[in-house]
Amino acid sequence: MTSEHLISEAPVRAPAVRVATAGSEPGSSARFARSPDALPLVGLSVSAILWAVALFQLDTDAIGDFGLLDAFPTTMYVAFGLLVSSMILAVHRRATDRVLAAHVGLLVLMLHATPAIRYETLRYAWSWKHLGIVHELTTQHWIDGSGRDLAIYHNWPGFFSAAATWLGTAVDPRGWAGLAQWAPPAFQLLYALAAYAVLQNLTDDRRVVWLGVWLFAIANWIGQDYFAPQSMAFFLFLVTCALALRFASHPTTITRRPRERNSTAHAIGTPRGEPATEATRRATRLLVVALATAIVVTHPLTPFVLIAALVALTVTGVVRDRRLALYVMAVQVVWLFTGARGFSGDRGRDLLAGFGALRSNLDASLEDASRADAAQRLVSTAGRAEVALLVLLAAVGLWRRTRRGTWDVAAAVLIATPLVIIAANSYGGEATFRVYLFALPFLAFVAATAFAPDERAWRPITAVVALAVSGALLAATLFAYYGKEQWTHFTESEVRAAELVFDDAPTGSLIIEGTDNYPARFARVNDLVFLNLAAEPRASREEVVSDPAATIATWLDDRRYPDAYLIITASQRAEARSLGLFPAGGLDRIERELLTSPLVEVLYRDDDAVVFSRREITNG
């Protein structure tokens, strides 16, 4: 079934010109060799083979201070280099859409499927926590939102109830982690698809569209693609933007000449396609409301960005259907006062307090790298440098296009509107990352226009510049995306240690953790008490490190809790060491001293994890 068959029974017309198949006519091989697809296909195939070889060679035990970069064999870097060269060649030679799409697809798989293929188990502590919510949902058919930590999931359950419908119906819980591991490549492929659908509306220059999608796929390093509500909401956001730009806007308003701002008669660089009929506009309205409703019940932040985007697109005259923004706002208001009223009431005041505190929201979002080790400072710098390079390219692109008389109104609006996030809240220190995520497809598009603002401006030297820039961005992404794998990936023994604690701990038990970065289950967050050593006040942390055995033994022996445990894992150690969360070697020292202490009992121990519990004193 093709995409046409999916939504229409209309027969797809046979092409008027018969297409020769390979080998059907003399000289067809020679013709293929001269076709724009030939060399890129060779590059693509060799890259894929090299990646497959690299997957075999990759040794995850070699993950070091630079994360997965320390473990990558040379063949992996050669594969990346060849793929980048092949893609730029494909763009330069105007290869077919299928070949260009295959390059983007392979890049996404190389970047995001490599961990899924080679890691023992699910990476990212948050993925495990989200699986815990799904587990609670499938066992209790309800999310208990009474605890502060779970309230947000209770009030925005869309992703969890959708995931639980899939996983709970079809798979034994022991297999969930194996499926959730594939969320990053799956979501990234969906993002690339939706980004292409959006960017097609912004220009009819195929080179710019594909370069935009390519830069988007390269520069999406912030890791908002795992098993999480944000991942689903971001995909739905992109689809909504694509629909609004395609069917609720007049093509000439998306990109326009300054002197013809109010004209619908002519525009340069506008997409092909007829203006939508009234029936299509109605259908679009309905679909946008459906997508927006799903976003609204799934994720607290994304609806605000979507509303800001639709309002801004309407105010600037890009979106002609003014009711779209109003309907989405109405859905959001209804949900805040019904489904999410518990959270809105309790936490609304906190959220409002952060509104407008631009400086503090921004400061809270910028990672403090001063305590991190040298490797992590470089990783952090690589991410920031990549953002800076992309913004610079986008500025050059906008300037070059404007000089040629083309204003990318829609793209500029969609780059600017995510800034409402910083104006509204620090979002737990992640505001700048989310701004970058939502702006990225449009930043990438405008950055792509920097190379050649229109089709006539493309030269061989343009391809060389595009190759150099793509290579630099990809190198930065490899550091920024893979540079934290020493603590974002887990081993099976860490999972076993965590399961030992969470399966056996009586209700009300105290769980002391080195950091909260381990494959924990969130399902029991409401009936256990957690103490994160890394989040303790500085004096408390120093007290623990100076005399670990006595301090921890006292805490474990607190009889207010029916039982008490301390869990330290390899990923916690790596995070603490890399980010300087404890005085030098602090967490290792705590573990070492407790292992020789008669005051605590060792419940579980191997190279990757150790679990201590209180020592019960028995008489006789």
Binding site: I7, S161, T165
Partner: protein
């Protein structure tokens, strides 16, 4: 008409594997395939959305994800959520959409809708 029938067969298969346990590799694929394709494709077909190519695929998958999120959140709010019930409700909606799509097709000139 064949693709409409294929979509409805997939919807029926999803209900079967949701209610009666199926082998591990089959069940998640059938359910995911149903969610990602059927509700979105039928909705777009009934609405007559003239989307093609990447946009059509993105809208179909997005609408399917939206449908499962909305239906399951509503059932959850009503405290009657179960995975099998959600799949059954989605399949019922799909059959209703399928009937509407067939009617639309029959009414259109030459029996083929656009």
């Amino acid at each position: 008409m064949r693709s409409l029938a294929a979509l409805l067969v997939l919807a029926a298969a999803a209900v079967v594997v949701a209610i009666a346990p199926a082998p591990a590799p089959v069940a998640p694929l059938v359910i995911l395939g149903f969610i990602a394709v059927v509700p979105g494709a039928l909705t777009c077909r009934v609405l007559g959305l003239p989307a093609r190519g990447a946009l059509a695929v993105a809208v179909v998958i997005g609408t399917g994800f939206a449908a499962v999120a909305i239906v399951s959140a509503v059932l959850l709010s009503a405290q009657v959520w179960t995975p099998a019930r959600t799949v059954t409700v989605l399949a019922a909606i799909s059959f209703a959409l399928g009937a509407a799509a067939a009617g639309r097709q029959a009414r259109s000139p030459g029996g083929v809708s656009g």
